[in-house]
């Protein structure tokens, strides 16, 4: 275990500078620009006559529709994260503990394959599987298990399935590294003290892999709430999320100010959530130093 380091800033802190520079130039500056545009009537870069306005934010706050959309977005994000964690963990565990090197490489490929298919193509593949005439429904119908196709697509379920599929590799790979480094003797000690393998897992492996869970779920959550291709294709615009709205605003309504306002709201809410999650996990696990 790492010991609590002495509390002075040390030279290593300097290593953050390149990233800070990158963020300053390529994130804070651009997003700052967007934030400015979200409180202006037009684009100050191209149109000189713009005025301050709060109408974009007012629009979000005044119309419950947008709050509903925000909630849908977060709900999909949370659900995706939970499911990705639930199915990513066993796989990550297997990968971390598999003995054979070839087996490990094969698993790695299997996990990487979905990431490499390309987001659009992958989603189309899901459409093929989930649609009414898709593989799953047709198989079930031909087996006589159902008579009407299940509504797998154009629903939150469909979106979550699609998102989980895309993002579960992030969960798996993040977790694998962490689980792989947990001393197996700790699990053995737990079993020796009478914990079933499952219990030993819950009592020892799980808490010790919290940093991985944290990292993985934050990645997946962040990705899921900002995804728009999958919700568009699998939700068929029947499920509206903030990114989809933003996409609409940018590409079809050309209302950058409003898109920016939506983006900033999404960002702020997510930041708050993430910080809260961090805290909660830290508290639950008693590992305050968790990052």
């Amino acid at each position: 275990m790492s010991q609590a380091p002495t509390q002075r800033i040390n030279g290593l802190a300097l290593f953050i500078l390149p990233s800070v520079l990158l963020f300053a130039l390529f994130f804070f500056l651009p997003i700052g620009l967007m934030a400015v545009m979200s409180v202006l009537t037009g684009n100050p870069v191209v149109a000189p006559r713009v005025a301050f306005t709060t109408r974009h934010y007012a629009r979000i706050v005044d119309d419950p529709y947008y709050l509903e959309v925000i909630w849908t977005t977060l709900r999909i994000g949370l659900l995706t994260t939970l499911v990705a964690l639930a199915i990513g963990y066993p796989l990550a565990h297997w990968m971390a503990r598999i003995k054979s090197r070839t087996g490990h490489a094969l698993l790695l490929m299997a996990v990487l394959a979905p990431m490499l298919t390309g987001i659009v193509v992958r989603t189309f593949a899901w459409m093929t599987l989930l649609s009414d005439k898709g593989v799953i429904n047709q198989t079930l119908i031909s087996l006589g298990l159902i008579s009407q196709p299940l509504k797998l697509m154009y629903s939150e379920t469909g979106i979550v399935v699609g998102l989980v599929h895309i993002y579960v590799p992030f969960m798996v790979l993040t977790l694998t590294g962490v689980i792989g480094r947990i001393d197996e003797r700790l699990e053995q000690a737990a079993e020796n003290l009478g914990a079933s393998p499952l219990r030993a897992f819950i009592e020892v492996t799980l808490p010790l892999s919290l940093p991985g869970i944290l990292a993985g779920s934050l990645l997946v959550f962040a990705l899921a709430i900002s995804a728009y291709v999958t919700p568009i294709l699998l939700g068929g615009f029947q499920i509206m999320t903030l990114p989809v709205l933003i996409y609409q605003q940018i590409s079809a309504n050309f209302n950058v100010g409003f898109a920016a306002a939506l983006g900033i709201v999404l960002l702020l809410i997510s930041l708050v959530l993430v910080i809260a999650y961090n805290r909660a996990l830290g508290l639950v696990s008693g590992q305050r130093e968790l990052q």
């Binding site: 290593l12 390529f26 299997a110 990431m115 992030f170 993040t174 480094r181 934050l218």
Partner: protein, 295 residues
């Protein structure tokens, strides 16, 4: 003969060890002590693998199926979409360009991200936890907005749409992966190993490369793999930042698919997968992906 209290004969010990090393291949008992749980465990994992791979199978079928749309059951096998993909100069150019961008992105994101993680985990920076969260922001903002914002900035700075601008944009959206995955393995790192290295005369830099890096490699590597794939697959940011004639593969594919939704994009996916598999195998042979060492 005589002998006083020597320790046990060393040559004897090593002979025995040598002999045992040559001993027959380990006759492994197939069944571990926990077989029931084992089956459940395997079953769950295999189900998950099926979930992960089913859509890939569809894509492969799509790529091999001669009809220009996804059809089940497939009507035949043809390589026409592959031919089309490889024959297209646009696709080939885009593929090359994407690889190039992804490569640069991976390198920059990995270096920047891993050092940032190190600084955050070890630098005793005030507010490190907040910084860590903020560094996740580029992922939480819909990338289309990030892309537009970057585009707007480049216009403002009058730099046009240079390749480095694209790489910078990609680095921005891939950096969080590297930071997170690296942080995750830096947690629980046994600092005494670094102390041992320092004690043996390794400078802090040397210690980092000789001990810290190899041990956090799984995290950094996972981050690098993410960076590469995310950059290679990056679409919304690229959309705004690619310049005419220098389009990345996803942009080209997307534009293609808006008009011709045929097996070519399936073929492109299959090619990407195979390509990445080669990279994975290569990495496994050289760096060894299974690098987390039992402590």
């Amino acid at each position: 003969m005589m002998g006083t209290s020597a320790a046990h004969n060393p040559s004897l010990a090593s002979d025995r060890e040598a002999a045992s090393r040559q001993a027959a291949a380990p006759a492994h008992a197939a069944v571990g002590p926990r077989h029931y749980g084992r089956y459940v465990y395997l079953a769950i994992n295999i189900a998950i693998l099926i979930f992960l791979l089913a859509p890939i199978a569809v894509v492969v079928v799509f790529a091999l199926n001669p009809t220009p749309f996804i059809q089940f059951p497939p009507v035949g096998v043809s390589l026409r979409w592959f031919e089309k993909f490889f024959a297209s100069r646009d696709f080939m150019h885009a593929l090359g360009f994407s690889l190039e961008v992804a490569l640069f992105t991976t390198v920059s994101a990995t270096i920047l991200g891993a050092s940032a993680a190190l600084a955050l985990a070890r630098g005793n920076l005030p507010g490190a936890r907040l910084i860590v969260v903020v560094m996740l922001s580029p992922l939480m903002l819909p990338a289309i907005l990030t892309g537009l914002a970057l585009f707007q900035t480049y216009v403002l700075l009058d730099v046009g749409r240079p390749t480095w601008g694209l790489v910078a944009g990609h680095t921005l959206v891939t950096l969080p992966y590297v930071v997170r995955t690296t942080l995750a393995v830096l947690h629980n790192f046994d600092l005494r190993l670094e102390e041992a290295a320092r004690n043996l005369g390794a400078s802090p830099a040397r210690t980092f490369f000789e001990v810290t890096l190899p041990l956090i490699k799984p995290g950094v590597l996972a981050g690098a793999i993410f960076a590469f794939i995310v950059s290679f697959d990056q679409f919304p940011v690229s959309l705004f930042l690619v310049s005419p004639g220098n389009e990345t593969l996803p942009v080209t594919l997307f534009n293609y698919l808006k008009f011709d939704l045929d097996g070519t994009i399936g073929a492109a996916s299959v090619v990407s997968i195979v390509l990445a598999f080669l990279v994975v195998i290569g990495l496994d042979r050289t760096v060894g992906l299974r690098s987390y060492v039992k402590l």
